[in-house]
Symmetry: C2
Subunit: 290 residues, 2 copies
């Protein structure tokens, strides 16, 4: 079974544990729709891949951390799509959660997914109590205040925000949690893996910003051009398109250079390249032919 299938199986099992009999049916449906069908599952795949590179193949703790991080990511998407934030009717080529279930259930689904993210780490029994607390600490640090995805989203409500602070918190924090949790689950030093996730997260966000400007909605599976409409910080808006492309190339190089020595470094670089390659598609990374 490949990593994406293992992650999806873990997520299905986690949802089945909370969205069964006794749960409000509307909330259960909204939560399921927020998680399935999934996107690329990049963050959890990174987490599992880093654990394997550090020598822990099929680590149950890494899989739980990966699942928790993806649940937190799905919560943030359901919330970001709300009318008062990005007002996005579609996500992953499907109706967004609020479009199908209304604003109230979209907000509550995000809450339920945040709690579930902590709960899947609490309930998984692999590793010591200290390991579980360490993984929970990484998850909390990547999601709340003063750093984390909630803070990143809140910078959108400020008149002035540093683009790199914003992108590091809104996107980088969860990527860094993924690489750090994978290392910790494998018994390695998580701090050695922070910059890998930071750089990759920022690269991913800059690529997303470029796509928002140049792509069309069919390619994206969500509306395009929203950052400009909504006045959101966007690398292209801040730097211009050529400098944003140069920044993307720089961040990709920094990501690959930051990978620490580890038993599976070669395989990990191949996986990273597979994640990074779409970011470097000709239209995103290089000026389009005239």
């Amino acid at each position: 079974m490949d990593d994406t299938a293992r992650i999806d199986r873990f997520l299905k099992h986690a949802l089945a544990g909370v969205a069964g009999p006794g749960a409000p049916p509307g909330l259960a449906a909204a939560v399921s729709h927020a998680v399935f069908p999934g996107g690329a599952r990049i963050r959890p795949r990174l987490c599992v891949a880093v654990a394997r590179a550090c020598g822990a193949d099929s680590s149950a703790a890494a899989l739980a951390a990966a699942g928790a991080i993806e649940l937190m990511h799905c919560a943030s998407l359901a919330q970001d799509d709300l009318p008062c934030f990005d007002d996005a009717p579609t996500r992953r080529g499907q109706p967004s959660v609020h479009s199908l279930y209304g604003d109230r259930l979209a907000i509550l689904a995000a809450d339920a997914l945040i709690v579930l993210a902590f709960n899947v780490l609490l309930r998984q029994s692999a590793g010591t109590a200290e390991l579980r607390l360490g993984l929970l600490g990484l998850l909390a640090a990547a999601t709340g205040m003063p750093r984390g995805i909630v803070s990143g989203q809140a910078w959108e409500c400020e008149r002035a925000a540093s683009l790199s602070d914003y992108q590091r918190e809104k996107t980088g924090a969860l990527f860094a949690a993924a690489t750090m949790a994978g290392a910790l689950a494998a018994g390695s030093d998580p701090l050695a893996w922070q910059s890998v996730g930071d750089h990759l997260g920022e690269a991913y966000q800059v690529a997303d910003d470029i796509c928002d400007v140049i792509a069309n909605p069919q390619e994206l599976g969500k509306p395009a051009g929203r950052d400009a409409v909504l006045g959101r910080p966007n690398a292209v808006g801040h730097l211009g398109l050529p400098a944003a492309r140069a920044r993307l190339q720089q961040l990709v190089a920094q990501t690959l250079a930051a990978i620490p020595e580890c038993p599976g470094a070669t395989e990990l670089r191949a996986i990273f390249r597979a994640v990074i390659e779409p970011l470097l598609a000709p239209r995103v990374a290089r000026p389009a032919a005239a």
Copy 2:
């Protein structure tokens, strides 16, 4: 220092740790406004009182659990007051969070408080790792799906809901977490304290429902008559006023009868009576004079 002052000091310290330099200023202000000025702090006071009754005076773990539960409660209030839920312009006699800071920051403040609730238990160092995991597990079970305050709120989005299921989840779950966490922090069996919290939470909700029908907004510090306007489950609406009053009396008796034998049972009963007394104020518990 009395328990309320200790709890408020704990909450101030927890907020100072996340709402300082580096945090988005609007989010930091919204989070602070959601927690201060506080209400009666009933849930955290219960938690600390149960720990003391079980023999753990000044337990740092109980104080952290109490703080975490209050943070979760404050998150739920900020969210419940949103226009798409109760549309309440005031709370605790002040403007509600969204009235001052807008819907986006109210939603994000609730997220940040949920994460902070887990984080204060992760970062407190009292007790063993197993105790911290146990307290975190009680918090998660009381807030998410299939039982917990998020599920309770989601029953409001269903056409049909059992009043007692709704009240047990929306209000009882966090009261039960308070009594159970207090017992666990003191090394006692949390399960023996579950029904105390369940009954008290339901009593509190029935009293709140009666107040919603008979009180005026100045007395409540929030709008009155909202349940009927919004079609929310309400004990008076389901049972009628006389039967709702009888149910309140019954729940109060069940609460007092459920207190297990413990070193500080006498003092605890006095504290419970102080919490319960306002619920039994003549206008709420007995028919008003004609």
